[in-house]
């Protein structure tokens, strides 16, 4: 049985619903030999800022039970280097590119979008709003609905391409932030980003990470991510969602689709298996064939609510 793997995230059609998650696949070209990016539904870039950033001092990662905590600090090459060095190759390979954007001010987000708008070959933007808003006392953009609506609206003015807002699981009111992003003009919401977490070294009586806090990812957060996708989908059933958090298998992807996601992103799983995103596409196809699902799109939001 042949399975139609294609999905639509709003107006954006993808050949399959599996994308690589931001910060776990470089700029899309590091794993061409192990996981060809053109075989995925799309690639989400490492978060880009107007200028290069060095990120946090090491150590930056800690392993946990069924996951890891990272404090990379948004190290990146800057939007200009990405456009000059990586984008031409991605274009040549016909990769569906989603540019992940962050900034410490609203202007910085807009600056990244403007630079990208000069280029061909970008399919959509994803705003990482788990970044401290320097001009508003360091509170994250994604934590305060009014800020988030303003930020989204500013970005909306800068582009006509699909605009995704990536929700933080650490926001005090998830559904309120989801509504704010949509009110600001988001075409889709991706969720979730990492969960704020701490690791402590018992012998040394110190936090393991120099900045104390980091973001938890991997299978440890999957049930939380599923719950959040489900909640946002039930509150805003018309809004396309991209599910993220601990996805390691085709089955995991199916669970997110059923909860209401139109597509999924694979992050930490790629560290354990560099071919994970591609393997998940195959497993998803096999699942559908075995279950008599002719088109993956049928699974989206198809959860039977008791």
């Amino acid at each position: 049985m042949s399975v139609d793997l294609s999905v639509a995230v709003g107006t954006l059609r993808l050949a399959n619903p599996v994308l690589s998650a931001s910060g776990t696949f470089g700029y899309g070209l590091d794993l061409v030999d192990l996981c060809p990016p053109e075989a995925l539904g799309g690639v989400v870039t490492k978060g880009l800022s107007p200028l290069p950033r060095a990120g946090n001092p090491p150590p930056r990662i800690v392993e946990t039970a069924a996951g890891m905590i990272n404090a990379i600090g948004l190290q990146n090459v800057g939007v200009d280097a990405f456009c000059r060095e990586s984008l031409p190759q991605l274009r040549q390979r016909r990769v569906v590119v989603v540019v992940n954007v962050f900034g410490e001010t609203m202007d910085a987000y807009v600056q990244v979008l403007r630079r990208c708008e000069e280029e061909e070959g970008i399919a959509a933007y994803e705003l990482n709003v788990s970044c401290p808003n320097v001009s508003a006392g360091g509170m994250e953009f994604g934590h305060e609905p009014q800020q988030l609506e303003r930020l989204t609206a500013r970005c909306r003015e800068a582009t006509e391409k699909p605009l995704w807002v990536k929700l933080s699981p650490n926001a005090p009111d998830l559904v309120a932030t989801a509504r704010a992003a949509v009110a600001g003009g988001a075409d889709a919401l991706s969720l979730i980003n990492t969960v704020r977490a701490v690791a402590i070294d018992a012998e040394r009586r110190r936090p393991v990470l120099p900045r104390v806090f980091g973001g938890l990812s991997g299978p440890a957060i999957k049930p939380i991510a599923l719950r959040m996708v489900l909640e946002v989908h039930r509150a805003l059933p018309e809004v396309p969602l991209v599910g993220i958090g601990g996805i390691e298998t085709g089955r995991d992807a199916v669970e997110f689709l059923l909860a209401g996601a139109s597509a999924v992103q694979v992050g930490t799983a790629t560290f354990r298996d560099p071919a994970a995103p591609l393997r998940i596409v195959r497993e998803l196809e096999a699942f559908c064939a075995a279950e008599g699902v002719g088109a993956v799109q049928e699974l989206v939001g198809a959860l039977a609510w008791p």
Partner: protein, 271 residues
């Protein structure tokens, strides 16, 4: 770049070398080659404990039949390395290799290579030593450890060095074998008595590398260091393994390293 593969490997043999260290002989049907200094990311056990793969330097890589035999020299320090000690011979693991940038083994005109290994820093230098021996390139090997029991594979090192008429210099902190004191002091004594090294290749604990960097600077000796940082992906996509580079950039140990020229690293490495 040598093609990397994510391979199924089978434990063909394990040899205990000291109370904490052992040698694994892994075989695979996949043909692959590597440069000394390159490493692999090994899933030490099926399932999620430990969650991430562990980086291990390739200590030897050679053809066996249609496939490859590859050796790892492991020190037991935690869950992953313990799982490797407990794995039954015949058991299978997943290995992504070869990764990263290895040593540049070219011998500069008129100079010798000095290979300097501290403790469990031996594996990449053992690989380099056997490669140099096979190519007939002269070198001396400096091997240091805390105690005689922790000097690993001495006879094998001796064979490699001997094949090209080089010297094997041993040192232990407690003087139980070889010269007493740290290995960098043994190197300094050779230098003082006129040994003309052009390049040193080194792997070992950070204090050893820092001391060596300082000596190499004062002597004008070119130095290549193999660094160890915690890693998640091993392939340059997570940015978890960075160190401070000389140019103010943060560089990935897994992709831009693990071997760096000392001049590529920020000054804090030897301060």
């Amino acid at each position: 770049m040598i093609a990397r593969r994510d391979m199924r490997v089978r434990l063909a043999a394990r040899r205990e070398l000291s109370p904490s260290c052992f040698l694994l002989e892994l075989v695979t049907d996949t043909p692959f080659e590597a440069q000394p200094g390159q490493f692999g990311m090994l899933a030490c056990r099926a399932g999620r404990d430990p969650f991430l793969r562990r980086p291990f330097s390739l200590a030897a890589v050679g053809a066996r039949g249609e496939g490859t035999v590859c050796e790892l020299l492991v020190k037991e320090v935690g869950r992953g390395s313990r799982a490797l000690r407990e794995l039954a011979v015949g058991g299978e693991l997943q290995l992504l290799a070869p990764l990263g940038r290895g040593f540049d083994l070219a011998t500069p005109e008129g100079g010798r290579l000095a290979l300097v290994a501290g403790g469990i820093g031996l594996p990449p230098l053992l690989f380099a030593a056997e490669r140099l021996a096979a190519a007939g390139q002269p070198f001396d090997l400096f091997l240091g450890a805390a105690t005689a029991a922790e000097l690993l594979l001495v006879e094998r090192c001796q064979r490699a060095v001997g094949a090209v008429g080089g010297e094997l210099v041993l040192a232990t902190d407690d003087g139980s074998r070889g010269e007493r004191g740290v290995i960098t002091e043994a190197l300094a004594r050779r230098w003082a008595s006129g040994a003309a090294y052009a390049t040193a290749l080194a792997c070992g604990p950070t204090p050893m590398l820092a001391a060596l960097t300082q000596l190499a600077r004062s002597w004008g000796l070119e130095l290549q260091l193999s660094l160890e940082e915690p890693m998640a992906c091993g392939v340059g996509v997570c940015l978890g393994c960075v160190v401070d580079g000389a140019d103010g950039r943060r560089v990935t140990t897994c992709k831009e390293g693990p071997v760096f020229r000392a001049s590529e690293l920020a000054a804090r490495w030897w301060q």
